[in-house]
């Protein structure tokens, strides 16, 4: 469980979040859908304590957090394996090999980030997030720079990994399709300062979702996003 209670945050004169509240249940995937610059990233930064709220409270209750950033953020002077080992407890190191196999990066374990493509780097950063013991996973538009095919593969992998460890995922995106494909719950956010405008639950299991079934929700969402109060 993760609770944000009336959180306010501003940078200089710009109010990014005002009395923002969020209640997140354990083990579910939350898609937070909102226009660019609405304060989604700020929200994640507050949860990870990279920023402090001006007002309000964030209750993590001792849960550990992993974070997939927009950029891969790998250490350029360490190999793929070392980048992963840095966040992985010693007794869980065998998982590194399993994940490297799964993500088809086994032969690159000794490579440096400069030798990897953008997609491979992002895959390493996803692996890193899962290798770090956590209850809550934050994802900040992690598929932005990737092509459609790779995006679909990675979303599937993330979903499978989520199923095996039942972590709570907060997935921030401005992409409607991504949000609909991955989320158990979809929260639509208003432009800055962000607030939750509408909540949807999607009951169809992720693996069975087809775009035509989602058409109804999609149209609703498009309407909402277009008419979001500014």
């Amino acid at each position: 469980m993760l609770i944000l209670n009336n959180v306010t945050k501003h940078y200089d004169d710009v109010v990014v979040l005002k009395d923002f509240s969020l209640f997140v249940e354990k083990g579910k995937i939350y898609s937070l859908l909102g226009p660019s610059g609405c304060g989604k990233t700020t929200m994640l930064r507050l949860i990870t304590e990279l920023e402090k709220p001006d007002q309000g409270k964030i209750e993590l209750k001792g849960q550990r957090v992993s974070y997939i950033f927009q950029e891969p953020r790998l250490l350029p002077w360490e190999t793929v394996r070392k980048n992963l080992e840095l966040v992985c407890p010693k007794k869980e190191r065998q998982k590194i090999d399993e994940l490297l196999e799964l993500m088809e990066l086994k032969e690159y374990e000794g490579a440096y980030p400069k030798e990897l493509s953008g997609g491979m780097k992002q895959r390493v950063s996803i692996m890193r997030a899962f290798l770090h013991p956590h209850e809550i996973l934050l994802m900040d538009e992690p598929f932005q720079a990737l092509d459609l095919k790779l995006k679909a593969i990675l979303m599937k992998e993330i979903y499978n990994l989520h199923q095996s460890i039942k972590n709570t995922i907060l997935f921030v995106t401005h992409d409607l399709d991504e949000a609909l494909l991955l989320g158990d719950e979809i929260f639509v956010l208003s432009p800055k300062p962000a607030s939750v405008v509408k909540k949807f639950s999607v009951s169809t299991p992720q693996m069975e979702r087809k775009s035509e079934d989602m058409q109804f929700i999609k149209e609703e969402l498009i309407k909402l996003l277009n008419h979001a109060p500014i």
Partner: protein, 252 residues
């Protein structure tokens, strides 16, 4: 292609040295060997000196003094620069010390070192090297610390990387090139500084030997000692360049 460029570069280097020797020889013939000793005479002087144990003793003593001052500057300058780079209030606190060491002329430290530590065991020389080298170490390490990649440091924080791992895998790799640049400048100053300090404040070492040569008007000896200092300076800067190349070549 690359091979032929390397070979060309070497050829130019040799031509340059050859021309230098010719000019030296010509100059010596024009003004006379008493003012400018010829290359051959200088080499003779070198051989004469090299057979005396005092020659090597002076060199070793100077190297030890130089290294001591240089290492002390690194030992204190590195953590201090790191701390100043991390925290602005610490930077503000040590800023006057930094400015003082940066702007005070070497000749002032020379005289002060002499008066404070006297002539003899070389403490004055070590102090003088320490104080002229330390600002360069501090400034470079501080700059490197300020340039730390914010995104990576955030990643370290989110993933709760331990302090030890942060030092090894986050701070060290990023600050190391800056630190080396500081060391490179510092090592150059060390060998220039050690001779200058010894000239005034010591009875042994390269600088002191140069002082004796000056009194005896042994210009060839002065040139030989200068050559030794050039070798020391070039050697240490080449060593540092190698260290840097070895360190970054894999991942850059």
């Amino acid at each position: 292609m690359k091979d032929s460029i390397t070979r060309n570069k070497k050829a130019y280097l040799l031509i340059s040295i050859f021309i230098f020797i010719i000019i030296w020889q010509t100059l010596s013939s024009i003004v006379g060997p008493l003012i400018v000793p010829s290359p051959v005479e200088t080499v003779k002087t070198l051989v004469d000196l090299a057979v005396q144990p005092e020659f090597w003793k002076d060199i070793v003593i100077s190297i030890i003094r130089g290294l001591l001052g240089f290492l002390l500057a690194i030992l204190i300058g590195t953590p201090l620069g790191f701390w100043m780079g991390l925290r602005e209030e610490i930077e503000a606190f040590f800023y006057p010390f930094l400015i003082l060491t940066q702007t005070t002329p070497t000749v002032s430290w020379l005289i002060l070192g002499w008066l404070w530590f006297g002539t003899g065991d070389g403490a004055a020389a070590i102090f003088i090297i320490w104080i002229i080298v330390i600002p360069f170490i501090i400034v470079n390490v501080m700059e490197g610390t300020k340039q730390l990649d914010k995104q990576l440091m955030e990643m370290a924080k989110v993933y709760k990387i331990s302090f030890k791992k942060r030092i090894l895998h986050f701070y060290f790799p990023q600050i190391f090139p800056y630190w080396l640049a500081g060391c490179s400048i510092g090592s150059g100053l060390t060998w220039k500084g050690v001779a200058m300090a010894e000239l005034l404040t010591a009875r042994t070492g390269i600088g002191a030997a140069m002082g004796v040569a000056r009194i005896n008007l042994e210009i060839a000896e002065v040139i030989v000692w200068s050559g030794i200092l050039v070798l020391l300076g070039y050697g240490s800067s080449a060593l540092i360049k190698r260290l840097e190349a070895a360190y970054t070549k894999k991942w850059r």
